[in-house]
């Protein structure tokens, strides 16, 4: 991986360079949360933040978007135009989440709507410091080595710029005078010191690696699940903010002229009441406990079987935003505590 040094005084110029290349998005504070927004005024950008409300999924599976248009002459797919959307400020967990979505939507069957939006997206990652809700050391997503185009590690006077793709290298090449390949030993020492400091800043760990087995073994112990099922509001916030939740619903909308129809996709959540209802009103998951079981087995266990890793990236969004405290941390900890047995277990 090519790595460059970008001096902090040159950073505004770098941002202007990105703006020339495409539509620039980045983290902006709005009321009590941060979110990736279109940047027209560079002074609104802030990198001293922990997590945005929604991760990068809003760029590739927006909350609601049109997929098809029908009129009397026939139908037409609505695939986004070619454009360049550059998002700066994504954290390692956000990038890991994108890699998980890529596996799903760009696997054997490629979703054309996702594919085009993904191709249009340039990801410029940014280093971060954790708060008490960050769980990415437990999920193994605290570091990232691919899935981005450029990644900036912010140090005292400069950024280390890691190049993750030819698109990223192209950006560097187009303004070479901003970037230097001369990284000396002290620069490296500054980076490793920062890295160690960051590693030591994580306050929360969860026994994540044990969850697939624990969930499998307690799956039918409903009393453990009911403590969460009884509290759950079925509001779907956890799915909305989760950077890997990608379930969608499809709805047709008849336009006011009554001659045209648009088919729209919108984010859905398996915690919402109608999620598993089939025609004739048979509901495969009629209660909240059953729906939460799906959410957490899918998130912490089953995704491992399908893609070789859990679908949680430890970003802490569910921890921050669930109004009743049901999240990967409380669920994992409750299950882990439930198996703390008084019988002495010998290590074999």
């Amino acid at each position: 991986m090519k790595t460059y040094k970008l001096m902090k005084e040159d950073f505004p110029q770098f941002l202007s360079l990105l703006q020339e290349k495409g539509n620039l998005y980045g983290p902006v504070k709005s009321k009590n949360h941060y979110s990736f927004e279109k940047i027209d005024d560079l002074s609104k950008l802030t990198f001293n933040y922990t997590r945005t409300l929604m991760g990068l999924k809003k760029f590739v599976t927006p909350p609601r978007y049109k997929v098809k248009h029908f009129d009397k002459s026939g139908s037409e797919d609505i695939i986004p135009e070619n454009e360049t959307n550059i998002v700066i400020g994504a954290h390692p967990c956000d990038i890991h989440a994108m890699k998980i979505l890529d596996k799903l939507f760009l696997g054997q069957i490629k979703d054309p709507y996702y594919k085009k939006r993904r191709e249009n997206l340039v990801i410029v990652g940014h280093s971060c410091m954790p708060d008490e809700n960050c769980l990415c050391t437990s999920t193994g997503t605290d570091m990232v080595s691919d899935g981005f185009d450029l990644f900036l590690t912010e140090l005292q006077d400069f950024y280390l710029v890691w190049v993750g793709s030819s698109k990223g290298l192209f950006i560097i090449m187009s303004s070479e005078d901003l970037f230097s390949e001369k990284i000396d030993m002290c620069d490296i020492a500054e980076y490793t010191t920062w890295q160690e400091n960051r590693q030591n800043s994580f306050k929360t760990t969860i026994p994540f690696h044990l969850m697939p087995d624990i969930i499998h073994l307690i799956y039918e112990k409903d009393e453990l699940w009911n403590q969460f099922g009884e509290k759950c509001l079925s509001c779907g916030t956890c799915s909305l903010v989760c950077p890997t939740c990608n379930c969608f619903n499809v709805e047709d909308k008849i336009l006011i002229n009554a001659d045209e129809v648009v088919r729209e996709r919108m984010l859905d959540s398996c915690t919402l009441p109608y999620y598993s209802v089939v025609a004739g009103d048979h509901d495969f998951r009629p209660d909240r406990t059953k729906r939460l079981k799906l959410y957490y087995t899918h998130k912490l266990k089953e995704y491992i079987g399908k893609w070789g890793q859990p679908a949680c990236v430890g970003c802490g969004r569910c921890v921050t935003y669930c109004p009743v405290g049901i999240n990967v941390k409380t669920v994992s900890n409750a299950f882990y505590e439930a198996i703390q047995c008084v019988r002495e277990v010998k290590k074999i």
Binding site: V250, E251, A279
Partner: protein, 286 residues
Amino acid sequence: MISDRSKLENPYEDHLATIIDYRDLTSDTRYYKLKFVDPEIQKHTGDYRPGQFAMFSIPGVGEAPFSISSTPTRPAFLEFGIRKVGSFTDALFKKKEGDTVYIRGPYGNGFDMERMEGKDIVIVSGGLGAVPLRSVLLYLEDKRELYNNVFFLNGARTPDDMLFKEDFLAMHAREIIETHLTVDKDPTGEWNHNVGVVTTLFEKINGRVDNDNAYALICGPPVMYKFVIKELLEMDFSKKNILMTLERRMKCGQGHCGHCAIHGVYTCLDGPVFNFWDYERMVELI
């Protein structure tokens, strides 16, 4: 139909099909026969397996999955048996001969008919379960010489509730497949076949199935599976050879929308045909 959807630029590509025939099967279930409008697509109508399903689309109403009821061995048209149970089917039932719907598919694993060649096959259906299994039955009639004994056990609540009743009575008469029909009760008094739940038909085939080399294909209401599976296990059927086809909510048909997930599998990709081992290891399957 385009079975390898990964080759399509847009796997959601659907095609206009014309309703060329329809009739009521029961008071709430209707038979539809469709043909693709585009002759190039029509050429590939038979590109599916028995047990697969298709997504119908009516602009302004939405999309919904339906089991294919015809057989790929008769590739001139597609047939479906559809019960009116919701907003999509309300709109569909307003369509008449000559009207069109969009169809994309086929989806799902379907039944591996080649694997069953040379074996005994027991087909058990109840109610609406006859719809996907009719595809298998017609397929087997057309390729009967490739299979050993084939038995068909079908149940309905009353004679008036039996889907494809005329088809199945004709099948009974043709004797290409040994067909046994039953109804839970017969208010008409004109029913010349068995009366009783579908499991009462098992005595007609007991001892006549080569259990070590046999497959059972089941589809019906959730309550039926338990009792039918019990009978099959008592007959010493191999668990991997007990195949059932299931229903779930679906929005995409290709493993992306998430609705049909059961544990680690997607009904639309890994199903809708599952075997008894799947049922045993996944508690929420039925």
